[in-house]
Structure formats: C-alpha cells, structure tokens
C-alpha cells in the first residue's frame, strides 16, 4: 500500500508522503473502530439476549443488524441538556477527555508487522499512560455535572482505576520481561510459533490478572461501580444526554476493543496462527492456515470481546469493598509473586525467553 502511495506521489518530498501515509492510516483505524463499535453494540445485545434465552434485537433491518445505526441516529438527534449549575467548559470537555485517549492508544497497536501508525520504542509505556488518562474524563465529568450521583460515581471510578492500574502495570512488567522489548511488534515477534510458544502459558496468572484489571479499567461489568444503576442511577454520566452520552458510550466500547486486542497481542501471540508450527499442515495444501495474518488477530480479539459480554451476562456487580480487596489483596500479590517466579524461571533458563 505504502509503495503504491509513494509511486503515485513521487513528486512530493518523502516527508510529506510519510505524513500523508500516517493520516491515511489514522483515518482507516478510526473509521474501522467506529464501525467496530457499531457492530459491538449489536453483538452485545444479541449475545446477551441469547444468554437470556431471548432473540435480541431483530426488528430494524435484516435480523436487526441496523439496530445500532438506529440507536446512533436517535442519540444524535436528542437534545443536549447542560444542567444549570454545571461547569459548562468541563462538562463539554470531559467526554472528549475520555474519547481522545481511547482513540490515541490505538496509535501503537500493531495490526500486522507492517501496519502500525507509530512504531515507537516505548509502546507499552505509552499504552499504560493513555489507558490511565481516561480516568480524568470520568472524574471531570462527575465533578462538572454538579450532581451527587455523578460525583459519587466518579469518586468510585478514580479509586478503582488507581487500584487496578497497579495490577495491570505489574502484569505488563511480566510481559516486558518475557518479550524483552517495549515495542508491541517485538513482543509479538518473541511469541512466534504455535499456541504453545505464546506467553499465556508461562504467564498464565498474569494473563488472567491483566484481563481482569482490563475489565476494571474500562468500567465494564462486573466492575462498573462507577455506573452502578441500582444505587447511583448511571454514575458519572447521569447528567449527559444526546451526543455527550454517545461519546461516553463510544469511548467505553473502544476501550473494550483496545483491552481485547492488547490481551491478544501480549498474551496470545497477536497475528500468529493457532496452527503455526504444525508441519503436517505446512507441507499439505493448508499452509495458509499456519501463516500469521490479521485474521487471527481479529479472531482472538473477537473472542475476548465475547468474554467481556459473557461476563456481563453471567455475574452480578461487585460490592465496593469486595472490588477493593480483590484489587489490592488478590491481584497485586499474585502479579508480584508471579514476577518473582518468572525471575527464577529466567535464571534457571526455563521457558520461551531462555535465550
């Protein structure tokens, strides 16, 4: 693709071509993300419906596929209500503060060895920074709405994010030690091979901890105390209507997709195939099954998205003290312990990183 662009625009400076190429990539990723969210809303409602023995949305369009488009149009057409005593500036800013980091984090996510918007060296750190940045949007939204419920919701979100950020960071330390790089592309490269050479086996506890704290980070069920419909109405976004609410919604789903794609990249070998390394397949006509491709990444991501929704359909919400004790007393000790174990394995030359 890039070669095509280069030959087409050969009269321009290579710098300009790089810029255009980056903008092009950004546009593709953003549009794909928004389409993913549209799909995800439908997918979620359908899957939860099926898990409740219902059929889910099936009225708008064939099999209800246009349902989320109808929902979007409805949200866009609704009136934006700004409460009288709200802080107008922050009230309008905070949805964006949530959405922008959610989108910006995708800059370092590699979709294939070549397709990555910014292949920076500190990719993993950048991700950690941006995923925790989202909490500012939540806190400001709660504060600016000037409402008790919103404020309580954002306080909860802040405490929760701080607690789970640590567990998440430690889990990423484990990945960093195993992958030997902060670049996501190199982490995937370190996992090349079949199912058995991916990091999820040696780092299994970290894999689980990462995913759990990822759910907590995105404020998804069963950790959506910041929203807690039963006790604080809708939490931090209770005062938002119309497009403001839509942006919160969008950010939440983009974050969900981000956590899913990161879990697949960090622990399940990214674009590596499930069947890689099976010589029987490689020699026969099925070699396309063993080759790394975007398809595998999407498949793994879809699986994790399904787990997100599956969790929501299966479990009740955590109580606040349970949430805190899970974060501080269970997840963080487990990660620290496993990093110790990993050190021992490293020294003893057991595992995939014994180079």
């Amino acid at each position: 693709m890039k070669e095509l662009l280069t030959s087409f625009l050969s009269f321009l400076d290579p710098q300009w071509i790089n810029l255009i190429w980056s903008l092009f990539q950004i546009a593709i990723v953003t549009v794909c993300l928004i389409l993913t969210v549209v799909f995800l809303v439908y997918f979620e409602r359908k899957v939860i419906g099926y898990m409740h023995s219902r059929v889910g949305p099936n009225r708008v369009g064939p099999k209800g596929t246009l349902q989320s488009i109808a929902d979007t149009i409805k949200l866009l057409l609704k009136e934006v209500i700004i409460p009288d005593k709200a802080d107008r500036f922050f009230f309008l800013l905070s949805p964006l503060l949530l959405l922008i980091p959610a989108l910006a984090a995708w800059a370092v996510v590699p979709f294939s060895p070549e397709f990555i918007i910014a292949d920076i060296n500190a990719g993993l750190l950048y991700l950690l920074a941006l995923t925790s940045f989202g909490v500012y949007g939540v806190i400001l939204a709660g504060w600016a709405s000037n409402s008790k419920y919103a404020f309580l919701g954002s306080m909860r979100a802040a405490a929760q994010m701080v607690a789970y950020e640590i567990a998440m960071g430690f889990a990423l330390v484990g990945v960093l030690m195993a992958g030997g790089s902060l670049k996501l592309g190199e982490i995937v490269a370190a996992q090349s091979g079949g199912v058995l050479s991916w990091f999820w086996i040696p780092l299994f506890p970290l894999f689980i901890v990462y995913f759990i704290s990822g759910i907590a980070e995105t404020n998804r069920h069963p950790f959506d105390l910041a929203e807690g419909e039963a006790e604080i109405v809708a939490g931090f976004h209770v005062e938002y209507s119309g497009i403001g609410f839509a942006i919160f919604f969008l950010a939440e789903y983009i974050n969900m997709a981000l956590i899913s794609v990161l879990t697949s990249i960090l622990f399940l070998g990214g674009w590596e195939s499930f069947f890689a390394g099976i010589s029987f397949l490689e020699t026969s006509g099925f070699s396309f099954l063993t080759e790394p491709s975007l398809f595998w990444l999407l498949l793994k991501t879809l699986f994790f998205l399904f787990v997100f929704i599956w969790l929501r359909a299966s479990f009740p919400r955590y109580r606040y003290d349970q949430l805190m004790s899970l974060g501080w007393k269970v997840l963080i000790p487990i990660t620290i312990l496993w990093i110790g174990v990993e050190c021992v394995m490293y020294v003893m030359q057991i595992g995939p990183w014994s180079v």
């Binding site: 099926y50 898990m51 409740h52 023995s53 219902r54 059929v55 099936n58 689980i208 359909a313 299966s314």
Partner: protein
C-alpha cells in the same frame, strides 16, 4: 477448610461454573414470541376490556341494580338510573373509568343479569385523556362488537363455575 477455599478462589471455579450456565443458555431454544405477529393463547377466563351486553332482542340487560358499582374495589363505576315510560328501571349514565379499573372481574360476578362482562380484548388504546371514561354507549358498542366471541368464552368457562 481454608485451604480448600483458597484453591477454589484461585482456580476461579465458581466463575467457570457461572460461565457454563450462561453458555448453555446461549445455545438453548429461544422462548421469545414475536408479539404482534404471533400471540400466546388466551384463557377463556381472561379479564380484558369491559363491555355491556344485550338480550337477543336488542334490549340492554342492565337493570340498574348498582351491585357492580357497590362491589367494585376501585370504585370505577358510576351509575345513574331513571324509570322508563314502560315502568322498567334503566340506567341513563353508566361510566367506567378505565384507568381506575383493575380488571378484577368482581362486577361481572356480581351482576344478576349478566349484563356487564369482561371480554378478552387487551390491545386497546385511547388518544385523549377523556376517553378513559367509558360511557354507556361505548360499553354497549364493545359488547355488540365482541358479542359472539364473549358468549363463546363464557360458555367455555361455565363448566368450571
């Protein structure tokens, strides 16, 4: 005991169990009824929209005894009566407030001449607030419209009364 609990916690056994429950439901046959196109069967005893019935000769059954309005727990029925020229007592006003009515069916049971009945119509609506007051004419019209259906339902149910 504590160790067993610890193992239970660490292996996330309970979570996996929960997951399996919902996964089973995922593949189960769905129970949704596509309502406006498909309808669930109704019992002949179903208590829906109220109606006033007539005799076969077209004379209204109601004798203005006001038993129904006395028994109505929601006090939804308002009746005023007068003597007709032929000496019989009939209602001049028979209003039922459809918003007050709780569809208990007591009026139907109390009526000595089977005048007031509950049809099994449950899909009806009104566009103006005043229309919630079902006047005598409206009630009689409902009775005429669903006469055959209602009589048939009452016959089916009479075996159990």
């Amino acid at each position: 005991m504590k160790i067993i609990q610890l193992i239970k916690k660490l292996t996330l056994i309970d979570f996996i169990k929960g997951f399996i429950v919902t996964l089973k439901a995922f593949f189960r046959r769905k129970v949704t009824v596509q309502y406006p196109e498909v309808k669930t069967p109704l019992s002949p005893r179903f208590r829906g929209k109220l109606a006033l019935m007539r005799y076969d000769n077209g004379e209204e059954r109601c004798i203005a005894c006001k038993l129904c309005s006395a028994v109505c727990p929601a006090q939804a029925i308002t009746i005023e009566s007068e003597e007709r020229t032929d000496g019989s007592r009939r209602t001049v006003k028979f209003d039922i407030d459809a918003f007050k009515c709780i569809y208990c069916g007591f009026c139907e049971e109390a009526c000595p001449v089977d005048s007031i009945v509950e049809t099994n119509i449950f899909e009806y609506h009104m566009t103006e607030n005043q229309q919630r007051i079902q006047t005598k004419e409206m009630l009689l019209a409902t009775g005429d419209q669903y006469r055959d259906q209602t009589i048939e339902n009452k016959k089916k149910d009479s075996r159990y009364r």
